[in-house]
């Protein structure tokens, strides 16, 4: 993702009334009503077995209903720090959703609502389907009605390494000998764990560290989303906390030209062990829901809108394993 490229030029203010110009009515375009209508069977599955996750009235993400009694998977980073999560399945709204467990490596949260008789998603036997195959995902909801958006599988399944490597999210003082924290990054694992300016890091995963190089060597093979044990000194007292590692590139985000033309994209979009890629024209909120094949079976869960042209989903094989693990 770091590679340089010739930016596609962004053009604004296209002239509309030029001779010889023909334009296709919007309902006939890929996301248009008339085209989307043919995906009614898959939309019906989304209506029953996907969830809309809201903070008040604001749509945050979608979810995958995985049990009749109200267990739902969603994208963890999109709902982090929301105290009152409301969940809509079909037409029923549940205001008391609880986060039961999260998997930081995959950025998946397991929610529980007090419900009965839900229709859980049906898993496809494999996510190994050829490029160019139709897939369907959640689009913006209109009222109580789910919307389906079509796309195709568009690249090879693969790992998406953490952009820039994994980091605690602290800036260390450069001039002191000890590993003293100068600054804690917003939305970082270090901030969540309560690390503060002035704390001195003395151990990572039980190993003594006193130099930046030692710490860098210990951090080198860590994955974004995993956690490390950080032992630190504050006012003479030592304490140990679990710190979630974030992708460095997302902590110190600088918008590239491609980001500028992508509209909104997921804040966590790298550091996934394996994804399948598709081209559904969604937005940041359209993650967390199921990715369906034309049979209406779940081939994965949408986990990131990476940019204007690329969206990622967790493959069904890994999704089943994550669900089983979080349900324990």
């Amino acid at each position: 993702m770091n590679a340089k490229f010739f930016p596609i030029l962004l053009v604004l203010g296209l002239s509309q009334s030029v001779q010889g110009v023909q334009s296709l009515e919007s309902e006939l375009r890929k996301n248009g009503e008339t085209v989307v209508a043919v995906f009614e069977e898959q939309r019906a599955v989304l209506q029953k077995s996907s969830a809309v996750i809201r903070d008040g009235r604001k749509e945050l993400a979608y979810g995958v209903v995985i049990s009749a009694d109200g267990y739902i998977l969603t994208k963890a980073s999109e709902i982090a720090k929301i105290s009152a999560i409301s969940v809509t399945v079909d037409e029923a709204k549940f205001d008391n959703a609880k986060v039961v467990a999260t998997d930081a490596a995959w950025d998946v949260a397991l929610l529980k609502i007090e419900a009965q008789g839900l229709q859980p998603i049906q898993y496809a036997s494999s996510s190994d389907i050829p490029q160019g195959t139709w897939v369907v995902a959640n689009g913006a909801t209109s009222g109580s009605r789910r919307r389906a958006l079509p796309g195709i599988i568009s690249a090879k399944p693969r790992e998406i390494p953490a952009h820039g490597g994994a980091a605690l999210g602290v800036v260390l003082k450069s001039k002191t000998k000890a590993l003293e924290i100068e600054e804690v990054n917003e939305k970082s694992g270090a901030q969540e764990a309560g690390l503060q300016k002035g704390d001195v890091i003395v151990m990572i995963d039980g190993k003594n560290v006193s130099k930046i190089e030692e710490m860098a060597a210990l951090m080198k093979d860590k994955k974004a989303g995993s956690t490390v044990k950080v032992t630190y000194k504050r006012a003479g007292k030592e304490d140990t906390v679990d710190v979630r590692l974030a992708a460095k590139g997302e902590l110190f985000a600088q918008k590239s030209r491609n980001d500028q033309m992508s509209g909104d994209y997921s804040s966590r979009r790298t550091g996934f062990p394996r994804v399948i890629q598709h081209d559904v024209l969604g937005n940041k909120e359209s993650t967390g829901g199921p990715l369906l094949n034309l049979e209406g079976l779940c081939i994965g869960m949408n986990i990131a809108r990476a940019d204007r042209a690329q969206s990622f989903a967790i493959p069904v094989e890994e999704l089943k394993e994550i669900a089983a693990r979080l349900m324990k």
Binding site: F6, G20, K30, W134, R257
Partner: protein
Amino acid sequence: MTRRFPFLLLALAPVMAMAAPDRPYINDKKAPDSRKDLDVIQKALATVLPKAREATVCIDLGEGSGSGVIVSPEGLVLTAAHVATGVGKELTVIMEDGKKLKAESMGLVSTTDCAMVRILEKGTYPFVSMDREDTTKLGDWVFSLGHSGGFDKDRGSVVRLGRLVRTADSTIQSDCTLIGGDSGGPLFDLEGRLIGIHSRVGEVLSQNMHVPMREFIAHWEEMTRGEFVGEGPFAKKPEKGKGFFGLATEARPEGGLKVTKVGRESPAEKAGFKEGDVILKLNGKPLATREELQEMIKEMSPGDKMALDLLKGGKAETLEMKLGER
């Protein structure tokens, strides 16, 4: 980012060719309305995608990359003018499997964003056919390929499906989303024929602009000859006097110029110049003073070829190199 550039159009409306007999029926339907219709699109993609993908390449110029597509077995590549950036530029073509090939830009049309590139290494390359008769119509189902965000071997080029949503004389628009790195990549119809080259995008996701094949066909000969056509926004002609050599010299009493300093990473250094080398002639003209060399370079443009007669360690040598850009 908000800069608006002239949207150039020819005065004449395009002449719509008759539909080819093998045109997929789905293109003449308002929208797919059955599972069968969807399967037709999916099956067409599955059939033509492997070949289309094989012929789609990444074009690497060192300071950036774009995409392109091979249209002849000898390795003729079509791309965008803003990827080629100029005529006679050295660049690298990267195949889908990661194989790197030396290549050179040929001509370009700077007004509409067309360019040609030639793979210099001999071989028989996978290629796609072009829709020369201009048979595509508004609403046709199309797919795009390109190395979005740069070459990634684990990922391969990225395929996107959409429809032709807008047509004008020198631009066609689809809802196959494009992003940086896709520039110069191919847009295909469902029969796997090349119908356009990716050029630019608008803010809305359905505004993805491609240069239609007819623009390439109209300027085919000029591009083959290596001409820089027009003075458009997509490529800038090299400017006289902007050339960069990157060395300092002093005149020798016996004639010729002794190199006293070679700039780091300069064109001179890349060409192998060392301190103490002697330049006797540039493009056949003997040099006696520094000013003579400076005057000659001032009359040249970046990318111009220089034929040099040298003394290296007392031995006569000839060298050909291109003038760099300041």
